[in-house]
Amino acid sequence: MSGPETLLGGAGEPAAGASAGTGAGAGAGRAPAPGPAAGGRRLVERVARVRELGIVVALAALFGVTGAVNPSFLGLDSLRDILLNSSIIAMLAVGQTLVVVTRNVDLSVSSVVGLTAFGGAVVLADTGVPIPVVIVGCVLAGALCGAVNGLLVGVAKVPALVATLGTLYAFRGIDFAVAGGRQVNAADMPESFLSLGSASVLGLPLLALVALVVLLAVGWMLGNLPWGRELYAIGSNPDAAVLAGIQVRRRVLAAFVLNGALAGLAGVMWAARFGTVDATVATGKELDVIAAVVVGGVAIFGGSGTVYGAALGALLLSSITSALAVLRVDALAQTAINGALIITAIVLDRVLALRVAAALRRRRYRDAR
């Protein structure tokens, strides 16, 4: 992926250092002051922002159109429902982003959700373990699953796609073995636990609030902690990351562990929200998560994108599902529409990337003359 950039070499070296550098045009595109020459850089920034802005626009359009056809879509209950529906996937998308920016992927999240949802539900149904302990236990179990992935990918150097495809089946297999066909029903679990799934704080669903807190916390860490920036560095250029003295293995492992922990938390949330839990919980959701991440503008080859984009992507995808239901579109067509959207997002992303590359080339070409 880093090939084309280095191929750009050659042109565009205005006499640096010399006092003439401040003269017209000589420092074009490099001057910190936002002069007319800084167009290339502003374009890049604009595009970087557009990635998330585009989703917001799409969301607005979706709500506008659907609301016009059926005003009840914009009602408080409907909006609450959409938030609640998207919060679990959004949280998984936040975790997945951590892994994807390092140029890896974690397909096993749905199985981790299934395992922790069922495990947590069984413990709650059969024993008197306090709810907070169960929640912490699920998060730790998820982190353990993440550690398995992280060790396979970061230490044993198995490609993430293969390693997590393997654990996708393995964790689900453990889930089936533990469950042995059993289903835990809402009636088996304490009422106080189930109420977490439907509780509201200040009019907002509790689960959505949890997802929001996780989003803001992870977003802050990725943007402001050295640890977070190193994840981007690893995905942007893995070889250079090693040379920069970054502990690549440890960071990749940490990204997988954190993603696993979030998947564990999502598992508890799943159990609290739906009440009825068996071994097949969340099957296939890994693709929804990755779709949300990609639609949210996180580069699948690592190095760029934000958790905010990924969360917005999750919100957009689940809003579409709700909207299509309100618009009485055939449920079977919804999958196809989701697919079309993902492809649109990726094509758009690629087109934008090519545009930026061409703009940068042209700009340097102008500078060279």
């Binding site: 070499g9 250092g17 010399a18 560095a233 990351a241 090693v242 003295g245 190095g303 080339r361 340097r364």
Partner: protein, 504 residues
Amino acid sequence: MAEEEHSASPVLALRDVTKSFGAVRALRGVSLQLFAGEAHALAGENGAGKSTLVKIMAGVHRPDGGEILLDGRPVEFSSPADAQQAGIAVIYQEPTLFPDLSVTENIFMGRQPRGRFGRIDRAAMRRQAAGLFARLGVQLDPDQPARGLSIADQQLVEIAKALSRDARVLIMDEPTAALSGNEAARLFGVVRALREQGCAVLFISHRLDEIFELCRRATTLRDGAFVAEDLIADITPDDLVRRMVGRELDALFPKQEGTPGEVVLKVDRLTREGVFTDVSFQVRRGEIVALAGLVGAGRSEVARAIFGIDRWDAGSVEVLGRRLPPGSPTAAMAAGVALVPEDRRQQGLVMNLSIERNIALAGLSAVRRGPLVSPALERSRARDWAIRLRLKYARLSDAVEVLSGGNQQKVVLAKWLAREPALLIVDEPTRGIDVGTKAEVHRLLSELAVGGIGILMISSELPEVLGMADRVLVMHEGRLVAEIPRAEATEENVMSAATGRSAA
């Protein structure tokens, strides 16, 4: 130059270091001593082992034998982080930037200034980056993403990165290769200041004048072995070249005179925006035309465009009088063009396929019986060419990855020569090949030219360019800046054209 005597013990020393990659012995018993407050040159031809040595000191590779001494005590670097902790900063030959991150983030990655809650102090970081650029006297926007920087700017970011480490040992692997004279002069100013402050500097450059200007000592390597350590004051540039080359150039470049025939390749005003501009030249049958220039000057990109890998925006390419459509390797191959790429492991060969398979790959239609590929035809074709190119191998069914670099290159050549091309483009034909095989590849190219093939040779090795080419084309920053006939080509005029000092 302040000639104060250095303290008795070196800051960093290598003792009897050996390193092998598979069958290739990259370093054999090399020793090196770096003293505080002194710049030390590491000289040697491409492939002599300089970069391997640098990577050992940087903690990228671990030596197979020998030891690294820091302040006289043996140390082991298990990762680049260890070497950095020990105060060693390295500017690598190839920029190692993160394209998605800003210039500032690139400089401070791994050791950002921290504020409250362990938060990165962006303001401080930006200020320090601006300070570094001011010290280097360059104008770079600290917030600009590294993607899209020119090679020279990337190199400047690398230099700023190394400076920001306040290192005790600064290793620079051809830092000036992509810099303009002005920028190089400023860099030297900074290096001198560091040296005065007691920093030990290891300096690698193919520009001898820079070595003689900056360094006090020089260690020379040849084919992975230590040749000599000299005080620069005691030797002349000619002495240094003799130590580096260590043999007569004539033997290495068995050039036969050919008679140029019809025009095989005519490139007319070829342009790919921002990569190369207005490139026009011709190659005739029986001729070796070298395309020289610095890394990143656009040479390989021109070759890729001719072969149809990349599209061009303007201009035309004619092979034997027929225009090639842009962006079609199939059409280029059908017209008689062959390309031996720069990176033979990634682009030239399928490493885990057998020798015979690899040789047949570019001409599968010739080894077909009906719809199937005939192993017998494949083998006989491979055997023919293995003999003609004097390939050293055990069995033709062996995977090419077990061959030495030189023999792998012969397989790539065989693959294309079996198609009987009219034009052969070779990109860095002898990179990473031992001296003996190098001479053989040169002999082969020369024979092919005499036999009537037109050859376009891209090479970064000046001796190779001067020794092999009938004409030398020089590129600088995407433009063809000079065409020098064999008789007039010297290391000086090719280099000065390549660095843009004169449009000779």
